[in-house]
Symmetry: C2
Subunit: 209 residues, 2 copies
């Protein structure tokens, strides 16, 4: 039985959610070997491109009028407004990749993750948590980028998120990075081994083998 | 958030099913590192102990009267008759281990796996398949222990089992042993990371951390 993607199977949509400071980027980097075969979805935004950013890599930078037209046409899997700018995940590239049997990873915050789950119920929801709120606070202060008020808002949001844990499929605690990366690799491999993903063509091919 | 087993969580019941000759024993051996923390459930049987076998290790060897009393009392998770002897999985040691937060692995054939799922719906059902029926036939002949008629019966059973694939949670194709062992490790790790297994005490402890 040929388990390789592309044998008539759809790809898997992974959604990655976790508080600011929890180390989502480090976790993706540590599990880069497993994520090599997963397409990282690039968000769209109306905010201005920063000098270090590349259009189409960091974000798809869109004019507000264009972004609003796409909202009106239902062309986002999720979108939100943040500090006056719009952010969102265009549906078309994600759906095209899934239809071609490629797995896709979206990294989005709780409200966006809920929007995605509402329209793509088969999404595999992964929650990344810090080992404790005290440790998250330490990491946020360590970054030295946020004001005290912003740190407190981020901690409050982390509390709200953990209360939503049961809406997710998996919890990965980012305590020791290598262990967390190992769990992420395991989630990806296990989801690919889910029996319900096997298509009839594969069973027929097996019975004829 | 402390993810270690024993923090008020129940253990996970893994059920391992696959055709004779598919290499379940080799797979368990290859994934012995991951299975170190999983209790392998020992079946009970009324058949005579063979010289190389140890009571309580290979099987619990029981008198038929005792076995039948246990059936009457509903003390088996599953049981079946095979070539005149009775085989079954006593519920008590499995349930005691799960209640203590230990994970348990049962290795049973399709009919028994269905009985277990009927009474323990949370069981994680893992189906082990050969890469093809031709390869299974080659392995069965390679063992040199079965008559031609028995090989044909085993192949027919393998066909029936694969048709029941959708009753299982995971499919592990035992083509290259090391890859199959890696998938088994992933399934165990991913199931331990399932968000629904997190108990309220863990969330409360996190919010107070």
């Amino acid at each position: 039985m040929d388990m390789r993607p592309g044998r008539g199977r759809r790809g898997i949509l992974f959604v990655f959610t976790g508080a600011s400071g929890v180390g989502k980027g480090s976790l993706r980097a540590a599990a880069a070997d497993a994520l090599r075969t997963v397409i990282y979805s690039v968000s769209a935004t109306t905010r201005a491109r920063r000098p270090a950013e590349t259009d189409g890599v960091d974000y798809h930078f869109l004019e507000r009028a264009e972004f609003e037209r796409m909202i009106a046409r239902g062309e986002f899997l999720e979108h939100a407004s943040y500090v006056g700018d719009l952010y969102g995940t265009p549906a078309a590239p994600v759906d095209a990749a899934l239809a071609a049997g490629r797995d896709v990873l979206l990294e989005i915050e709780l409200a966006g993750a809920r929007q995605v789950k509402a329209v793509r119920s088969e999404a595999v929801m992964i929650f990344i948590a810090p080992p404790s709120l005290a440790e998250l606070e330490r990491r946020l202060r360590g970054r030295g980028t946020d004001s005290e008020a912003k740190i407190q808002r981020r901690l409050e949001r982390a509390r709200e998120e953990i209360r939503a844990l049961r809406e997710f499929d998996y919890l990965i605690v980012n305590d020791r990075l290598e262990e967390a990366a190992e769990t992420l690799r395991a989630v990806i491999a296990a989801e690919r081994a889910r029996a319900w993903r096997v298509v009839d063509d594969e069973i027929d091919a097996f019975l004829a083998s």
